[in-house]
C-alpha cells in the first residue's frame, strides 16, 4: 500500500480540483480512515466506520434482494450527495458533493479517481 501522504495528496487534489466536491475519505473495509479531506465539523473516525458499514450493508441488500453487484451507494439529501464506492478489495471511498453537482459528472470523476487510487491501496 502507498504511504498515507501519497494517498492524501491524491484525495486532496481530487477535492480541490473537482467542482462541487466538498470532501472525500478513503477508509479500510473494516472502517478505519486511511486518509480524509472532510469539513472540520465531521468526525473522521465515525465517518469512516459509517461509510464502510453502509457500503457493506448496501452490498448485503444487493445480495439479499437479488440486485446483483452493487456499483455504489448514493445518499441524496437536501444539501447534497454522499457517495460510497469500493476502491478495489482494500478500501472504500466516500465522496461528499454539493446539491448542485451533476450526477453524471460526479460519478465520472469518482470513476477516474478510483483508477488512480485502486493500485495505490492494493
Amino acid at each position: 500500500m502507498a504511504q498515507a501522504s501519497m494517498l492524501t495528496e491524491v484525495v486532496q487534489k481530487f477535492v480541490t480540483a473537482t467542482p462541487d466536491i466538498q470532501g472525500a475519505a478513503l477508509v479500510t473495509p473494516d472502517g478505519l480512515s486511511l486518509t480524509s479531506v472532510l469539513p472540520g465539523s465531521m468526525d473522521e473516525e465515525r465517518t469512516s466506520a459509517m461509510s464502510a458499514a453502509m457500503l457493506s450493508l448496501g452490498e448485503r441488500i444487493g445480495q439479499e434482494l437479488s440486485r446483483g453487484i452493487v456499483d455504489r451507494i448514493v445518499i441524496e439529501g437536501e444539501k447534497g450527495y454522499s457517495v460510497m464506492v469500493s476502491c478495489g478489495d482494500d478500501a472504500v471511498l466516500l465522496v461528499l458533493a454539493a446539491k448542485e453537482a451533476k450526477q453524471g459528472l460526479l460519478f465520472l470523476e469518482i470513476k477516474r479517481i478510483l483508477k488512480d487510487l485502486a493500485p495505490m491501496v492494493s
Binding site: 473495509p29 473494516d30 478505519l32 486511511l34 466506520a49 458499514a53 457493506s56 450493508l57
Partner: protein, 153 residues
Amino acid sequence: MTREKLGGFISIVCFKGVITGMEEALGERATSIALISAGRTRGKNLVTELGLAGSNPSLEDLASKLDFALGENGTRLCKVDKIEDNGDTIKVYTHETVCSAGEEQGSSRKCTYSMGAVCGAIETIQGKRYRPKHTESVLRGGTHDVFEMSMIG
C-alpha cells in the same frame, strides 16, 4: 436509573443475542464494523474517565491498568494478560473475552467489541492510532485471544 435488584451486569447470553441479531439483520461485516467502532469509543471513554488519557505508562503497567478496568475487578469484558511491543505493532494477550464466551471450540467467531475496546483504550493512552486484528483465538487452539495492532499514524 440504577437497577435495584439486578445490578449493573447482564448475561453473556443476552449480549451474544444482540450480536447474532445484528449479524442476522445487517450482515457480519457491517456488524463487525459497528461493534469494533462501539468498542473503540468505549475504550476511549473508559481511559478518559480513569484519567489515563495521554499518560503513556509502560506496557506492563498498561496491561495491569486495562486488566483492572476491564477484568474481574472492572466491567468484566475480558482479562488483559500482557502487552508486547514489536516495533510498529503491539500484541495484546487477553482471555475470557465476552466475544469468545459461550462459543463452541472451532467456532469461527472473531472478537469485535472486546478488541475495539482494548484498541480504543490503548490509542487514547498512547495518543497513537492502530489497526487491530484478531490473530489468535482460544476457540481455535490458542491459549489467548490475541489482538495484533498495527500503527496507522
